[in-house]
């Protein structure tokens, strides 16, 4: 089962992103693309002639995806939550390096912003892991998922994660690192053809990573997990459709002022109650 989940995580991610695009279109009162659209995109990208800048750029892109996939796999096999978070961190760092490795100013700015965003969300992820440790007594995902739902004991932590969701999914208001209109996609700008596909797939995989974290809050209760995931999915989309993009410095400030504080409060609550 976990083999299956880990192996097909990118596929599921793509599917979710297909649903995401349809939901977003409907929220804007458009018909929207077909449900399988991201798959069509991927197959098409396989067919394009690649035009790349240099080898290092490619290698870093591929490493980004591999590290991300590895972190998902760790997750599915019930690994150590901190390892998972750090593998994920590693993958993001590869992406940032890839952004710095080319000379395009957009790519550099994108990497800058990605880095700032990383500083914004990484501490909260770690605090979250600590929270899980405090409630379930272990960093192991397998232990957490066999415990009672963690959302009951740390609802504030869940809200903090909800605030991070748009940031990780590159949705407004926290989509400054990608910023279609300013940076044309930021770090991914110089990728093309098959190699863009890699980045594209890792974006899809990221979705699974994020929703897996949401799922974690439900513990052993799978039904609750599904409710949490779909609930947060629609909420994120609605918020995406109700806000504009805020600037990267506002982003960092806002995330620290809300999510970080909430996470700290949640930890305090756990240790007092």
């Amino acid at each position: 089962m976990s083999w299956f989940l880990a192996l097909f995580a990118p596929v599921f991610g793509t599917l979710v992103s297909g649903i995401d695009r349809v939901v977003r279109a409907r929220m804007q009162r458009r018909l929207g693309p077909p449900l399988m659209q991201p798959f069509y995109d991927m197959f098409k990208l396989l067919d394009k002639r690649p035009m790349m800048v240099h080898k290092l750029h490619i290698v870093l892109g591929v490493m980004h995806f591999m590290a991300l996939w590895a972190s998902i796999a760790l997750f599915m096999f019930g690994g150590h939550l901190l390892y998972i978070i750090f593998t994920h961190l590693l993958s993001v760092i590869f992406l940032i390096l890839a952004g710095y490795s080319v000379r395009s100013p957009y790519s550099h700015l994108g990497a800058n912003r990605e880095l700032l965003a990383l500083f914004a969300y990484e501490p909260i992820l770690i605090l979250m892991a600590v929270g899980f440790y405090l409630t379930c007594g272990s960093f192991e995902v397998s232990v957490i998922t066999s415990n009672s739902p963690a959302i009951v004991s740390m609802p504030l932590m869940f809200i903090a994660l909800l605030i991070l969701l748009p940031l990780k999914l590159k949705k407004s208001p926290f989509d400054a690192p990608e910023a279609h209109q300013e940076l044309c996609g930021g770090v991914e700008i110089e990728y093309s053809g098959f190699f863009y596909e890699v980045i594209y797939v890792s974006k899809m995989t990221e979705i699974i990573f994020v929703y897996a974290l949401v799922f974690l809050f439900a513990g052993q209760n799978i039904l609750l997990g599904i409710i949490l995931v779909t609930g947060s999915f629609f909420l994120v989309n609605a918020v995406d459709n109700a806000t504009g993009r805020i600037r990267i410095d506002h982003l960092v400030k806002k995330v620290y002022a809300t999510a970080f504080v909430l996470a700290l409060l949640a930890l305090g609550w756990i240790s007092y109650v």
Binding site: R26, M27, Q28, R29, L31, N237, A238, N241, A242
Partner: protein, 138 residues
């Protein structure tokens, strides 16, 4: 912002605005300015339409026996309708229909052929003038 979020949710249930264009055609209003149509039975060959057309999308080619052939390039016409207003036989000889122009592909060479035609038409005029002048002399 809360109202915007609720709006996003309520939009989810509403019918989208999208008209499914290639499947269901769009209805053009009356008097839509479409392609220019020509009927040589009514034309009095006054050349007014050719002269007035800003991009020269109408060109008459002159033949030696005196008759002319109308040429029109929908990929050059700006659909301004000036020719229609200039034509003394509006409605019979020249009129603007409500059809829109359709895209063409590179094989049709809407541009290159027109270059050739333009040159030929110019040449044909000059030839005709020369012939006429020669006739007058003789």
């Amino acid at each position: 912002m809360i109202s915007a979020i609720t709006k996003a949710f309520s939009n989810l249930l509403k019918k989208p605005y999208t008209c499914n264009y290639p499947v269901t055609p769009v209805i053009k209003p009356k008097n839509y300015r479409g392609l220019i149509k020509f009927n040589d039975e009514y034309c009095i060959w006054c050349d007014k339409c050719e002269k007035v057309c800003p991009p020269n999308a109408i060109i008459f080619k002159q033949f030696e026996d005196g008759h002319k052939v109308y040429n029109y390039n929908p990929y050059l016409c700006i659909y301004c309708g000036d020719c229609i207003r200039a034509c003394p036989k509006t409605g019979d000889a020249l009129w603007q229909c409500e059809e829109k122009g359709l895209p063409s592909i590179s094989k049709d060479a809407p541009n290159d052929d027109w270059f050739i035609l333009e040159k030929e038409a110019k040449q044909s005029r000059e030839n005709y003038k020369a012939i006429k002048a020669a006739k007058k002399k003789s």
